[in-house]
Symmetry: C2
Subunit: 413 residues, 2 copies
């Protein structure tokens, strides 16, 4: 006798406080979108916002929009909205630039604040752009800095007295493993190091408590769980106590103490504005606001509870219904150690994911063998979990993944 | 007897081959928009494009758009369109990031290519973000580089054997003075220096011949004469002969030789892709394409001829009709030494510009005393020149600029 039925999941949706939020996103009824950890779904409000920014703010108000429509202060305004989601205060967050650029700025600041130390602790298996940016920075500074790569359980031991900066992504992009922000930050501070938290897979996915953890710096992505649109500007956080103490190196005019004085020499602003470079992409930035507005009405605690349940049920069902098909759980079984995604390894992972996508069950594949499913409580239904696993079982039972078209690799995967 | 009449200008519009392009922009009939050098007007096509990118590409196609709708190659595709306008070849230009960031990348590359030299020649009166970025870079590298500031006619003499890089904006943002790209580049190469050209006020305003001038590097803005929208991504150019020879330091994953291999260590692409950092703001980038598409059908030579005429007439008319009101021409009188703008100094410049804007004649003010008028041949009519000067005369004759509301400064000017 099976442990679950589809009706159980429909019943969970019935009782779900967050269920109505799905209507705020444009999603086809039959689409099971489990890739919001790569590109969040489109808030319905985004279309009207884009139209308004293009036709009225740009087309009609033109240059006056910098004042009249608040373009110049948009990075700060949206930053403050993000601050609420990540346990930061007003004036500690800016929505700007891209994640890699923000990491570059913060890492350079942190290294300047620990000039006598040369070691940066990072996770080698992390989504590589953070590591790449650090390598570029090290190469450019030419001061003999080195990256000490450590994985998951070895990170604490890698944080020793010679470490300048610990720069980690809180939730691992492949496994979904959730690092202990509080313990790691504490350990870093004990040895005199600073910490940068990459929240790409955390912000909007689970409650983050930067100030409660005494974090130093953080950054993250606008287009995953925050639903800001493709390539939406990212964000960065600098704890108040560090503002004005170090200078980020991408010293464009928006970070100047008096940008409209057009002075010849750079004078850094002594607050979070120093972290801006120059003019931001206003259309993309404005639309990011639509994703953030939804979070003003959604409770992060409820989001986390639902996220854990969605993931737990997904694992339960795969174990129940797909046990014989060679999937190995690549995410923590313990939901308190997991972000909002579940990954499995399978040697035919690529073709299996293509077969799923053909059935309108959209997750993604990460080389060499990971299939990854992101669960976004604002628009993922409990019944999606059931249907996704039944779809997966159907593919495996009938060897649908063997179709030749599913093993043809696209340029971008 | 007056030298001109309004009918003369209407007649010029009648004969103007470029006149039909105005219909491709959303501009109120009674608006005289002379600020396209700060924020270009909105191409009518931009609204449908924004709607399509939001509702279909993002909302419907979601993550598949990276392949299906060409998001991943958009920076390159638009870069190639810009290449045509600035005398570059395919594969030499990317549309990406922001101007300051692009300057940072290119300057760092150029300094790496001249490790034994410490001097950067820049113009101190330039729009300051380039100088600020250079100062940030110098501070971060800590290798004793210094900026040698020189102005206009002194630039050639400042380019001596100790210079690593000459980094100049071709058209001055205040005066509109047009530097001689060929002569300066030649001089720089004679002494063994490299040249970076900032084309913020050139691209789309006048023909630029980067390769013909043997330029090394260039960058520029998407939201001025290219009409790409507020904060549209910028562009950068690296001459083919330099690609793969030096590495830009903002080493995000899009610049990796194999970005989707997710390797632990950075390996630079050996072509223009190395100049990318990470994910671009797709909505803003897509809309930039609408501005560029118009240029596919517009002849840069005709644009330049009309631009020179518009500016010449404007100066003529101000000298004819506003001679007694204390305006001093701050731009070159010789149109071959001028970009596509005309500036005057006036001690009441701020209030005068506010009074003009209240009359729907939109230029801008640059501290301390410059009023600036940009002429964008794709949508500026000859009769606008007449009407703008008549509006200016009316303001001066009747002391309209004295109204208290016109001297109240806004946060962003």
């Amino acid at each position: 006798m099976p442990k679950f039925s589809r009706d159980d999941f429909l019943a969970l949706d019935e009782k779900d406080d967050l269920a109505p939020f799905r209507d705020e996103f444009q999603l086809a009824k039959d689409l099971i979108y489990l890739d919001g950890n790569s590109l969040g779904a489109m808030p319905v409000a985004a279309l009207a916002k884009a139209q308004d920014v293009v036709a009225r703010e740009w087309g009609q108000d033109l240059i006056t929009s910098w004042n009249k429509n608040g373009w110049f202060h948009l990075a700060e305004k949206l930053g403050n909205k993000i601050a609420r989601l990540i346990g930061a205060d007003e004036g500690e967050v800016m929505a700007c630039d891209a994640t890699g650029l923000n990491l570059y700025k913060l890492l350079s600041m942190a290294l300047d604040m620990r000039p006598e130390r040369k070691v940066i602790v990072m996770e080698g298996s992390n989504f590589p752009t953070d590591n790449y940016m650090a390598q570029g920075l090290i190469h450019q500074r030419g001061q003999g800095h080195e990256i000490r790569f450590a994985e998951q359980d070895d990170i604490m031991a890698a944080i020793t007295e010679d470490v300048a900066v610990v720069s980690l992504t809180q939730v691992h992009y492949k496994s979904g493993y959730l690092l202990d922000m509080k313990a790691i930050t504490q350990k870093a501070h004990q040895v005199g190091a600073l910490v940068i938290w990459d929240l790409c897979h955390s912000a909007g996915a689970l409650p983050v408590a930067l100030n409660d953890c005494q974090a130093d710096f953080a950054l993250g992505c606008g287009y995953k769980y925050l639903n800001g649109g493709p390539g939406a500007p990212a964000f960065l956080y600098v704890a108040k106590r560090h503002q004005g103490k170090a200078m980020q190196p991408l010293t464009g005019w928006w970070g100047h103490a008096n940008p409209f004085a057009f002075e010849q020499d750079y004078r850094p602003a002594d607050n979070i504005w120093q972290c801006l470079t120059g003019t931001q992409p206003i259309l993309s930035l404005s639309v990011l606001g639509c994703g953030l507005d939804i979070f003003e009405r959604a409770d992060m605690g409820k989001i986390r509870v639902k996220s854990m349940k969605l993931c737990d049920y997904f694992i339960d069902l795969v174990e129940e219904y797909c046990a014989d098909f060679g999937f190995t759980l690549a995410s923590p079984r313990d939901s308190t150690k997991r972000g909002s995604q579940v990954s499995f390894t399978h040697e035919q992972g690529y073709a299996i994911m293509q077969a799923l996508i053909a059935k309108n069950i959209v997750g993604d594949f990460r080389a060499p063998d990971i299939i990854r499913f992101g669960f976004t409580p604002l628009y993922t239904r409990y019944v999606d979990v059931w249907d996704a696993v039944m779809g997966l079982r159907n593919i495996m039972e009938n060897d649908l993944w063997r179709r030749p078209e599913y093993s043809k690799r696209e340029a971008v995967t």
